[in-house]
Symmetry: C2
Subunit: 358 residues, 2 copies
């Protein structure tokens, strides 16, 4: 296993799992090991990072991305700064400036700052205490993902009477965005390990194609049979009876179960409701925002037109045409069959809500 | 107006409308005039075609496409063959071979053969009789499109109490696929001419982007305010109350009103139903197939993986990943609010069906 810590460079017992770990501590190299996601799916390049400057650059380039991954990057960045300071003979002020540079590498990524702040108070206890705390964050994320995946898989297997299930998913809520296990894809991985998964339909997920690029990569690495389809095929795939359930991650879950996730999730929810199959939201408890009563309090991020209107530098629409590019949509709780977190499972469509787990 | 016949090359009274005529007879040049759709939306190049060989090439290159357009191309192709035979001194056998070449330029496009066969029996009556018959086909298509557009617009304006309506559409059912008016886009054009259209959300329509490339081009040429969005944004655009109705074309309509159209139409239908707004299907009567009782009798064409899995020659998914690429979906009649044809309007969701117009 190379989840969390790489113990050796060359004799990794589980090559597949290693290809899905976005960020980890390499004990042999004494460095952060990153999977360079900018090269996916064409290449799965590993990158060793020994300096805070290189880490800042990797984060800015999106070589590592995803909220939980960035939290871990922030925490491990403090270790890198301590080691670099010792190696280069930096004073404390220079070391702290390097840590601040990691903390601010992507200003809007709150998890990055959160990860730094989780371990920074331990600097007085020495480098090994900081490393232990950073690794504990990684373990916590992995444990939460595995637990919520197990709970969601149990829920599904109790309700769907088929030897092996067929699923649809949207976007990428997988190992590559977390500490190395995943949420929506963690559920599929759990079912696969139990021998209970038949086939996954992965929406390509326009405009950035996280489904085609990342989800398909993860499913291939895990040996899970899958096909990629355009997003607009989801409704007919569901209503033709080709899948038994849909599973997605979440960006934010309101107290009543209304769920914000990648735009297109709402379309899956409508089709699942019409077909009478469950929509499963798989997300760590940290995604639940009890201070937001319902979806009306969630602001949907509007992104730039150019993501839609051009491809590989060429315009796909006429000059002058504007794009409308909401990054997320909000699925009302009445269409959310189940929310699986590491704390437990609730069924918003049947009246239980995240509040019941608080 | 340059619908159907171009009377002059340089003094076209309505430049906008001319940019939306995919194929017409140019009286001055004595030739077929094509809008080269392979160059859209970047350029709107007009091409004069004087030989059957050039026409066959234009059809094969998809410079002209869409079932009604190809029917007209077939009919006008017979005129081109007659003129070419006179000019080049061909005998009848050579002329007939040239007509057959046009007829078979795209073997699966039945409308091409249909267009040839409509006018070929008139060869004995002379070239002008053939031309008149070809122009009559054009006029018939235009008249049918205009009539069904008017009926759909009337239906909408009777039911939606807003000064100007906001619409969503999917794919391209416009002038460029017909004789120069359009079906779904014809409805929008009719509303626009009455000053009753506010804004159109055009789905980009993966995998081939007919929405971004062609629908946005047509709306821009007509001066209709519009935005392009990814297909998966349709559900939230509808459920957030941003539009008053959806309008689409159809590839085939069963006797009970079940409607096959570009994949993604079903998702619009589900969202319209949930939002309580109408889904309008706009299609000429020739699209209705009374010999097919319902949607279960419609075979959905599966197209190749490469349309999904690569872009501009680059793979977007890992090597080995397969694509699932249904070209159409079938929307059950209970979610089809209205079908507007030139014969009249029926409301399948409320129990009237195309059979009632037979």
């Amino acid at each position: 296993m190379c989840l969390g810590v790489f113990v050796t460079n060359d004799q990794r017992p589980d090559r597949t799992a290693c290809d899905l770990v976005p960020i980890a501590w390499d004990e042999v190299a004494g460095a952060v090991r990153l999977l360079d996601q900018t090269a996916l799916p064409g290449r799965a390049d590993q990158r060793l990072v020994r300096s805070t400057a290189d880490l800042v650059q990797a984060i800015a380039e999106l070589a590592v991305r995803g909220a939980p991954s960035l939290g871990i990057a922030g925490a491990l960045g403090v270790v890198v700064a301590v080691d670099e300071a010792a190696r280069e003979g930096w004073d404390e002020a220079r070391r702290d400036a390097a840590i601040d540079a990691v903390r601010g590498a992507r200003p809007t990524a709150v998890n990055l700052a959160w990860g730094v702040d989780q371990v920074r108070p331990l600097l007085g206890q020495g480098r090994d205490a900081v490393l232990a705390a950073a690794l504990a964050l990684t373990e916590d994320n992995l444990a939460a993902n595995r637990e919520l995946s197990r709970r969601a898989a149990d829920w599904l297997l109790e309700r769907i009477d088929r030897p092996r299930l067929r699923a649809i998913t949207h976007c990428n809520a997988g190992a590559l965005a977390t500490a190395g296990w995943g949420t929506a894809l963690g559920v599929l991985r759990d079912l696969h390990e139990r021998g209970r998964l038949e086939l996954v339909y992965a929406d390509e997920t326009r405009p950035l194609l996280q489904g085609a690029r990342l989800t398909a990569y993860e499913l291939a690495a895990l040996g899970i049979p899958h096909v990629v389809q355009v997003d607009s095929a989801a409704s007919s795939t569901i209503l033709r009876g080709l899948v038994d359930f849909a599973v997605v991650g979440a960006d934010r879950i309101a107290a009543n179960g209304d769920t914000a996730n990648k735009v297109g999730t709402l379309g899956l929810a409508l089709a699942c409701d019409a077909a009478g199959i469950p929509l499963v939201v798989a997300a760590p408890w940290s995604t639940v925002d009890l201070s937001t009563a319902d979806g009306s309090g969630i602001v949907v991020e509007q992104r730039g037109s150019q993501e839609i209107l051009q491809w590989a530098g060429e315009r796909t629409a006429p000059e002058g045409t504007q794009g409308f590019n909401p990054a997320f949509d909000v699925t009302p709780s009445r269409w959310v069959s189940v929310i699986a977190t590491e704390r437990g499972v609730v069924e918003p469509a049947h009246g239980t809500t995240p509040r019941d787990l608080a």
